[in-house]
Symmetry: C2
DNA sequence: AGTCTTTCAAATGTCAGACGTTTACGCGAT
DNA sequence: ATCGCGTAAACGTCTGACATTTGAAAGACT
């Protein structure tokens, strides 16, 4: 008989048979992904599913909870109620990813510098694409955000909201969902990163920089838009460096920020199902 | 009495008091995010939670299922079993985000072109950063992936695995988790995108292009690494154009791909809890 | 005939208690 | 010291019942 330890890249898999609830959830999930259960369609009633799978209703309910947490299905009560396959909503998906990301950041060792670096790299691409692809609606959105940020009496919360709207609108104008989604998710956790330097911001200067980016995008000048964006970023980097110099503890793992203040933007967007 | 319709931006919130299970899940989730329940810590036993919240055990279990689907907690059976706050694993988080993304792509109208565009934009940044920051371990990983792809007898599956490993290793070498995570997620759905043109690939040429990128990264030459990457991308774009020309139906919404073949990479990585 | 009210039934939400299954840990025998 | 076994703790599942919500049909009134 051969030895139990073979030199091949073999590693014993954690077998532990999945629970009934998990298996049912998997089957339903696959059916949904396979297209057998189109969005909006209704699953059989719980007692019927229980009958079909030969399990108790409690088990079926646990399976449904697994799917509903993943936003695959939604349950409603009442006579015409039931469990329905959810029609995906981009905002909800972005919020969900933002949730996952912030959870990860919160327990990891990711620093503000890392978030900023990624944000700048991806958004630079978005800015360039936005200059090529923006339509009138995009321009209106961006313009509204810039105007909103000009209010001299603005407070921290409102400023961050307009800033968020500005950058998200640009990413939307790039017309690439695969870029827009992670970017939106990153922006959603950015309020945490910006509160650190908020007191140092010259709001008028920020508004002017935003305006310059908007102008270049409106003129469909990708190169200039990228340059304007770079100037904006350079200004922020300068502030961060200043903050870092005065208070070296500024570049901390995000976990401590999360612990201090409860998510301002995500609180509104977080799924509650 | 004022009319029910006011001109202000008011919109009635969906009130419908959340279910007990949802509320419990929210409370526990907040406690975890707030840091009161650190990773690895153990929740009270189900019957204790039921007692504390004054609900039945079934309700507590449904709440736990909601959290476990979000990978926030994990339950184990046995004497020393219980429900524990999960220690986030980057690979698992990436797989989870990849899951969410592909689900979204599957039900949306996202096209292969969009995925490729985003992938190329972000990875270009990773390649440049990798040239600056790679350590010996990164180089070894990348080298191993390149060598693995040289096997002339390689089949489609093995090739895609090594290709995936190559690109993920580069993103890892960029030493920015915020870039690495979405990039890995995108790469995880890439097998779907690559199978379309696989039959047209000149595997030897691909290996040479990978080698050129590796060499530049090893030489810490960011500019050359980016150029080599651009050449690689240009070659792939050429193939895609060719495929698009021969079979215009190639640039289809990803949904149809998902429907046809069951996720090759995700099948192994998909959460089963 | 049309509208309002009442009743009803279907479906999810929750409860209570019980039993099955898994698994770490300690105890005793070898 | 090691092996085997029992035990208890915890999750997994079952059963059956009741509570709550809500659309829709049946009925009553104008």
């Amino acid at each position: 008989m051969p030895s139990a330890q073979e030199p091949t890249g073999f590693r014993p898999r954690r077998l532990s048979r999945a629970s009934a609830a998990t298996q049912i959830a998997d089957q339903v999930r696959d059916a949904i992904l396979r297209g057998e259960l189109p969005a909006g369609s209704r699953l059989p009633a719980e007692h019927e599913l229980a009958e079909q799978f030969v399990v108790s209703r409690a088990t079926v309910r646990e399976a449904i909870k697994l799917l509903s947490a993943a936003r695959l299905v939604e349950s409603t009560r009442g006579a015409a109620g039931g469990t329905f396959v959810v029609v995906p909503d981009p905002a909800a998906v972005a919020a969900s990813i933002g949730d996952t990301l912030s959870l990860w950041f919160a327990s990891g060792s990711t620093s503000l510098a890392e978030v900023s670096e990624a944000r700048e790299a991806i958004e630079r691409v978005c800015v360039r694409l936005a200059a090529q692809r923006r339509d009138e609606e995009d321009l209106a959105d961006i313009r509204r955000a810039v105007e909103g940020g000009r209010d001299p009496e603005i407070d921290s919360d409102a400023f961050l909201r307009h800033d968020l709207e500005f950058h998200i609108a640009i990413c939307r104008a790039a017309k690439n969902q695969v870029l827009e989604l992670p970017m939106t998710a990153i922006h959603l956790i950015r309020p945490w990163t910006n509160t650190v330097v908020f007191e140092l911001l010259d709001l008028g200067q920020i508004a002017d920089q935003h305006q310059a980016i908007l102008d270049a995008i409106e003129a469909a000048d990708g190169d200039e838009a990228e340059r304007a964006f770079d100037r904006h970023i350079a200004y922020l980097a300068e502030l961060r460096a200043e903050a870092l110099h005065e208070r070296p503890e500024t570049d901390v793992p995000i976990a401590s920020l999360v612990a201090q203040q409860a998510h301002p933007a995500l609180a509104r967007l977080r799924p509650r199902g």
